[in-house]
Symmetry: C2
Subunit: 279 residues, 2 copies
């Protein structure tokens, strides 16, 4: 199967490595608007050839979009317009409602599978690609009834090849849930980073004391702004609600601390500890 991957960074690069290793694709065509990424992906053996997006639309049987969600939104209609009748397109974006809404009446909607493999690291670019990035993780497919049977089967087969666990859900549910269990975590990390960096301007040695707890909570602050800006934009309502609730919990915590109410801080912590059974 001729497979084109649009976006040869962390996600696209990891996909290419895994699809080649498993034999799902013998040959990967890389598409990237960033020529540096393409060159790195070629020299790392992640992709086998490169093409422009219109060329890939002509050549490939499967086109996977592994680019920021604003870029998916920007090119998806053009891609569906240009592909052959049997070409299948799968996106890997971290938001689903706006993307599904965009193409819901497109004549080639059935050629498209809206999906989100929940995998990543805080690093970016082809050199961050990991062959086992997807292994054992969840892959979400949305609006499966709008994809043709062959398109859906191919996407499922690809994710099973990656050893992912597939869940089917509606895009609105996906976007609501992911706001709370991923998008909010990123904003909490970015804001922790900002808070600590502000204080470190005065307190130069402060990071000497940072241990595993700090690293763990702030790690995601290293994530790519190019990827995350558009996610926050496309999922703004859910994220804003989650963030508002998060701020309310922090204000309640601060109030208990300011009042010296340790009974209350302990109650809040006991309640939060129920998360033990969930993750």
């Amino acid at each position: 199967m001729k497979t084109a991957i649009v976006g040869t960074g962390l996600i696209g690069g990891s996909l290419a490595l895994a699809l080649k290793k498993t034999g799902f694709a013998s040959n990967i065509i890389g598409v990237d608007k960033n020529p540096d990424n393409l060159q790195k992906a070629m020299s790392l053996g992640i992709i086998d050839s490169q093409a422009t997006l219109p060329e890939a639309c002509q050549m490939a049987d499967l086109i996977v979009l592994a680019i920021p969600v604003d870029a998916i939104y920007y090119i998806l209609v053009e891609v569906l317009d240009k592909i052959h009748e049997r070409t299948i397109v799968v996106d890997m974006g971290s938001t689903k409602s706006k993307i599904c809404q965009l193409v819901k009446d497109h004549p080639k909607r059935q050629n498209f599978v809206a999906s989100h493999p929940i995998a990543g690291t805080e690093n970016a670019g082809p050199e961050a690609a990991l062959v086992n990035l997807f292994q054992g993780k969840k892959a979400i497919i949305c609006e499966e009834q709008r994809s043709s049977k062959p398109a859906l089967e191919l996407a499922i087969s690809m994710y099973k090849t990656l050893e992912m666990n597939i869940e089917i859900m509606e895009p609105e549910i996906h976007d609501l849930h992911i706001a709370y269990v991923s998008h909010l975590s990123h904003i909490s990390a970015f804001s922790l980073g900002l808070t600590a960096l502000d204080m470190a301007v005065k307190e130069k040695d402060m990071f000497k004391m940072a241990g595993g707890g700090f690293s763990s909570t702030v790690r995601l602050a290293k994530s790519s702004p190019e990827m995350w800006g558009p996610i926050f934009e496309q999922n703004n309502e859910n994220i804003s609600a989650a963030l508002g609730e998060y701020i309310d919990h922090l204000i309640a915590f601060k109030k208990a601390i300011d009042e010296g109410n340790t009974t209350r801080t302990k109650e809040l912590m006991e309640k939060a500890a129920i998360i033990r059974s969930k993750i």
Copy 2:
């Protein structure tokens, strides 16, 4: 050297395992107000014998306090009152100002070394003890000039045996820095847990989508309320300031998202990413 460890949970248990493994102490006397912990610590081979606190004060050459900071505050004067002239006491609490203030004029202040090994996990109890918990981490010693030379040398020797990197600093600086690089991280995690759990009441399947990012940011929410409540109480001013600044950053992030200002969210993320060079 006869070594008593007061508190046989994660920290005290890990210390006991490491001191025995390295031969620093051949025999560990365990002290714990919780008889279950003592029994578990005995049966796991973490401690060799058990004693009451007054007994330990009579028997030991070195007494290490590995208990919550309110308990340290509560027993430290009594311990210094009861020990022999040459007995050395080291505390491992995560706050230092209040504890140092409490004993600054005690006639046996020189027998005491105020310290904080920056190591831990989100788990608690003797069964969570890890022999290499401290390895490669930082140990902070405060007000070193108030400890006698033999006391300071013994504490440093103990931390070096654990392969820790020792830093000397004033208690006020310790408490300020640790608020930003540890205590705040814990509150961010507890509040993330509370936010997600609230939504999960309505959205039962939500945690299906939780991946590595969520786990990483929320892991500390599993930490012991018994340990953390008193830390928040003793370091309340620094934590309240840090938490206030964190909330301000989150509000700024929310405003940018609500306004659809992706240029601004990207700016905030670019700035936060400087944390890359700090951890």
